[in-house]
């Protein structure tokens, strides 16, 4: 082996070894734990452990709490992904408008929520959405809309958190879409305008296909992110009211670190992993069909 190859191995070895230890081994460990009934008893004495095969998964399949968490997570994604993508696209179109002045200033302001620490802004928004003293309800009251119990009513808790998440995250995709929009061939746009196509048609047939790959990637990442929601329910609603904001990851955290049912929690983790993998694969397949990949 020559000198270059040796150097290559030495350079790559640390991170590969660390990744093996920190990602691969624990993932296999999760698979192993998921077929046992590791719980608080086993934490005290590991001999109190049983191999249970796929029992954990069977229990999950019949557990209404789990299905509720899964449903909540899907609802979050169903509401949040289109909202975030639409908001990002709208912002990108607005800021990409030819006649906008002081563009860098607006870009920084629009992007600011994305870099803020999630825990801190969760605390801020929990107060913003407060039923009695929150400014949002105060502003609504000024236009005659009665106080909405945003985080206390199971019907509005998810939309309220989605609103927060859209605010927090739209900046990232706005930047990505801005760059993609900037690369839409100007001559195609002009040709379409000359042909008499209105703005919506131009958007649909010229702009959208050009930014298609960026849209797809953003959607895939966004869905994966929404499937992994944890901090927001943890800080803002503790998974309530009545379990309406408990997500799959929150459910896993409760199983694992509140009740120490590590076997069950690992089963949940694997199910989540499979779901993310599945969703990603489906979207990749759709993207390939639309020739966006």
């Amino acid at each position: 082996m020559n000198r270059t190859a040796r150097a290559g191995l030495w350079f790559a070895a640390p991170v590969v070894a660390l990744t093996f230890l920190i990602v691969v081994v624990p993932t296999l460990g999760a698979a192993l734990l998921s077929v046992t009934d590791f719980d608080i008893y086993a934490l005290g004495d590991v001999t109190r452990l049983r191999f249970v095969g796929l029992d954990n998964f069977a229990v999950l399949a019949h557990d209404p709490h789990f299905w509720r968490a899964a449903g909540n997570t899907l609802l979050f994604a169903a509401l949040g992904v289109p909202a975030t993508i639409a908001a990002s696209l709208l912002a990108a179109v607005l800021i990409g408008s030819a006649t906008v002045r002081w563009r860098p200033v607006w870009r920084v302001l629009l992007f600011a929520p994305y870099v803020t620490t999630l825990v801190a802004t969760s605390v801020v928004w929990r107060t913003l959405l407060d039923t009695r003293f929150g400014p949002i309800n105060a502003a609504l009251a000024a236009v005659g809309i009665g106080p909405v119990d945003w985080l206390g009513d199971a019907r509005t808790s998810i939309p309220a958190i989605v609103l927060f998440l859209v605010w927090k995250n739209f900046g990232y995709n706005m930047v990505v879409f801005s760059a993609a929009l900037a690369m839409v061939p100007a001559d195609l746009r002009d040709a379409a305008r000359v042909d008499g196509a209105g703005p919506w048609l131009r958007f649909r047939h010229v702009v959208l296909p050009a930014i298609g790959p960026a849209l797809l990637l953003a959607t895939v990442l966004s869905v994966a992110n929404f499937l992994q929601l944890f901090t927001e329910p943890y800080i803002m609603t503790h998974g309530g009211p009545a379990g309406s904001t408990t997500t799959v990851l929150y459910f896993m955290f409760e199983q694992g670190f509140t009740w120490w049912s590590l076997g069950m929690a690992s089963a949940v983790a694997l199910v989540l992993f499979a779901a993310i993998l599945g969703v990603t694969a489906v979207q990749a397949r759709l993207g390939r069909r639309a020739e966006w990949l």
Partner: protein, 281 residues
Amino acid sequence: MTRLRAAVPTLLVAALALLTVLPLVWMGAVSLMSPGSASAMPPPFWPEHASLVNYRTLLLPERRAGGADGYQIARAALNSLVLALLATGLALAVTVPAGYAFAKLHFPGRAPLLQALLALIVVPAQVGMLPLFLLLKSVGLVNTYAGVLAPSLASVYAVLFIRQAMLGLPDEMLDAARIDGASEWRIFTSIVLPLVRPVLITLALFIFLASWSDFLWPLIVLSDQHLYTLPVALAAMSREHARDVELMMAGAVVTTLPVVLAFALLQRFYFTGILGGSVKG
């Protein structure tokens, strides 16, 4: 187009931008209000008498009964800073050479290893968290800085990001240096690194921001309060001091101001970093 019509996009964007930062401005405003004044009807938007009393309560150690100093926010800020700096330094130290190796150094097994790394991207971090906790427990690293730092060192994204950035480096230049007798390490440090300095700054910024804002893992790993990072300390405080709105906003400001400042100062690098890998054109 009339002047007014031309100004409309600017006005729209400006309105959207100001609406977007409104919650953050409000956060700062409330943090300067005197305790108890935010819980009034209707809620005030601006402090009557701006004061730093909440910050004093938050950051200065004071042995008062029921005081918020119990959460040691100042200590947590220090922890966050040290951990973020360590994470950045250590992560760079392991991922940058590896990224270079995957880009420019042919070694046996490079292609399959790269495939394996790409496959690992889809594994969500939370899958391995519980077993990783047990693994760290077996070597006594729970509730330590090392335990908190562990996941940052296994950043597949960073390796791929560096690799992507270095693919474009001219091989001829590297080969010339080899012919001149320079060692691979020498080539890496004297030629390659200076060429990719902006990329390094970008990656360092991303790692720093991610470490600062990390919540779930430090929440799980740290039980000693004097090791808490800011997000964990803030979350603990928020469960107990939910009614002290002004104090909580001050805590939120302390937690998020450093990253917002870091972003504002280095935004050029940040935006380049986002666009570097994700636009298919």
